[in-house]
Amino acid sequence: MDIVSAIAVLAGIALVAGLALTLAARTLQRDADDVVERINAELPQTQCAQCGFPGCRPYAEAIAQGDVDINRCPPGGDATIAALARLLDRDIIALDASLPPPAPPGVAIIDEERCIGCARCLPACPVDAIVGAHQFMHTVVEDLCTGCELCIAPCPVDCLEMVATDDNAERAA
């Protein structure tokens, strides 16, 4: 008899606690936008689309939805994965093997001898860091360039190339 009552009491506690937790999870759910913002804040904002989303924010939204893993950001590398893992309380995992390995930080530069002023690279830049117009030479505003490499492919004369930036240490100093 004792055993029965014990089981009954425990089951009752489990039931009540389960209900309370479910209720809490429903009502206390964090504002979805807030989560997206916080995830986005950890992403490097390179806007390179290597994750398969058209920019950092869309990727952040997808992570918040739970559609995609946190290991799809090559520019952020291990540091970003670690930061996201901490933020979302997940395990730290390796960068997705199908993605290119993290490259050293760099910026695009335009070889002004070769540029023909076709303006095809302008719309490719996610942060409007290339200035220029049809029939005028283009140039990359180095300070704004995120190094996403999206401008490389559209160029018909291959006049864009990536150069490694100086040590950020010196730039930050």
Partner: protein, 507 residues
């Protein structure tokens, strides 16, 4: 001139009584280092941006002739320290912590040491206007001679703008081994007082304190004697207790005035202007003879030096020549430190030149650690916090730095760390705390910089998205409007109209 009672001093938190090691060099004598065959003059001997060379290879230059002009507001000119020919202008290694290379102007000396004819003493210096004085100081390339080499012009300008009320002359020289300011004060107290009076008059200040560490009685006596020649009611001598780091700029301001220099600020933010005694002497020299900053006093000492002492060294003389003049190295010379044993920079090569920042050269002796002992975990003894002169808690900073809580470092006062090195000396676990904080500061700067960049990229990306969305919306609306506005019978109507036109059939 009066001397202030020491009990009026404010009490600095923390600090250490360090062994002095000063006796070997502090003889009061200042010897001259002969002019070598080659002078190496970096265009960046100061804190701030590099000066621009204004001479070309092959040019003949005279002693005191400007060879590089200050670039921007935070810079200092460089002058030839002896006469000769410019043989190269090239990037070379320089003795400094942050940057390892800079453009150097190499001069092959002619031995004649001919002065430049453009040297201009300040006329009637004790009545000079602030503008005239600032201009002359700027042209002379004078920087703080205490080791930080902060451009004096920038400091004075900031002081004028901020409206300071107190001039403080720093004769504390609290780091072990160094005695160059002591030697200067013993020998040139008159000049220091003269330079002080020039600055006081030009800036319209009514009070000045000369802080002298209590272990320098000879310097104190020299000032008392000099007061009969260059005495001034506005100037007060103050004995500073021999506690490291009383000679730090912010620390000295606090000791003398009780004012706390705000986090990230300058002494001028609390109405104080601090100059090294050497800087005042350089101003006096400029006023009297028109000589720009082309030499400084350097303490050459340590177990690794045969004849330790103080030397007047022209800027650009290779350290090896200075060491040779001091009797050369002994078998103890394993390490070469520029500056003091607490904050100095270890140099790996003595071919580097003496610069404006070089107040002391130490070839290491036995009191200087020869290797880092194995580090143990922090046992939270709190001694580092007890002796920290800015009341930081190094043990907490270390934990935040090592265990990746970078964002809490700001709240713990990382940027307030003056890197004095006291915490290293009391740490029973032998943790290189100061170096950790230097690393942490750099990491933090990079982190903040990268976050700013990312933030800007995010904003630009989002604005671009909005713009493209707006464009797409507008296009869709236009298509819709055309669709809506279009009459399905339009073509038929046009055809009908055509048919109905007279003469249309004739076509």
């Amino acid at each position: 001139m009066t001397s202030a009672p020491t009990e009026n001093l404010h009490r600095l938190p923390g600090g250490l009584r360090l062994p002095g090691f000063k006796a070997q060099s502090a003889t009061g004598e200042i010897r001259e280092v002969p002019i070598p065959g080659t002078l190496i003059l970096p265009v960046r001997q100061h804190a701030g941006s590099a000066a621009q060379p204004i001479v070309a290879v092959g040019d003949r230059v005279m002693r005191g002739q400007p060879i590089a002009r200050a670039e921007g507001d935070f810079s200092a000119s460089v002058h030839a320290s002896s006469s000769g020919t410019v043989v190269a202008i090239e990037s070379r290694a320089i003795p400094a912590r942050e940057v390892s290379e800079a453009v150097c102007i190499i001069i092959e000396t002619d031995g004649a040491d001919t002065p430049w004819d453009g040297l201009a003493p300040i006329t009637n210096p004790l009545a000079a206007t602030p503008d005239a004085l600032l201009e002359a100081i700027g042209k002379a390339g004078i920087v703080g001679l205490g080791g930080a080499a902060f451009p004096t012009l920038a400091k004075l300008r900031h002081a004028v703008d901020a409206g300071v009320d107190t001039l403080i002359l720093n004769g504390v020289e609290c780091e072990p081994y160094i005695s160059c300011d002591d030697a200067l004060m013993r020998n040139q107290a008159v000049e220091i007082l003269f330079g002080t009076r020039i600055m006081l008059t030009a800036l319209g200040l009514r009070q000045c304190a000369i802080g002298i560490e209590s272990d320098k009685p000879e310097a104190w006596a020299a000032f008392t004697e000099a007061a009969s020649i260059e005495g001034d009611d506005r100037v007060q001598l103050v004995a500073i207790p021999t506690v490291y780091p009383s000679g730090g700029e912010d620390q000295l301001v606090y000791l003398l005035t009780g004012r706390e220099v705000p986090s990230g600020g300058f002494p001028s933010d609390v109405g104080a202007l601090v100059h090294n005694v050497g800087t005042a002497a350089a101003v006096a020299d400029l006023a009297l003879t028109g000589t720009p900053l082309i030499s400084r006093i350097v303490t050459v000492t340590g177990e690794g030096i045969a004849n330790p002492g103080n030397y007047r060294v022209r800027l650009g003389i290779p350290i090896a020549d200075v060491a040779a003049c001091a009797g050369g190295y002994t078998e103890h010379a394993k390490r070469l430190i520029m500056g003091g044993p607490m904050t100095g920079v270890a140099l790996t090569d003595d071919a580097l030149p003496v610069t404006k920042a070089c107040n002391c050269l130490i070839a290491t002796g036995p009191a200087v650690r020869t290797s880092f002992e194995p580090e143990r975990p922090c046992i939270r003894c709190g001694e580092c916090a007890r002796i920290c002169p800015v009341r930081l808690q190094p043990q907490q900073l270390l934990r935040a730095h090592r265990y990746g809580a970078g964002d809490t470092l700001d709240g713990l006062g990382l940027i307030d760390c003056i890197e004095c090195g006291c915490c290293d000396l009391v740490c029973p676990s032998h943790i290189p705390l100061t170096q950790s904080f230097r690393d942490a500061k750099l990491a933090r700067r990079i982190d903040v910089y990268e976050r700013e960049r990312a933030e800007r990229a995010r904003e630009r990306f989002e604005r671009r998205q909005e713009r493209e969305q707006a464009r797409a919306d507008a296009q869709a609306a236009e298509t819709e409007r055309l669709k809506q506005g279009a009459n399905p019978n339009a073509i038929a109507e046009i055809l009908a109209r055509k048919r109905g036109t007279p003469g249309g059939d004739e076509d």
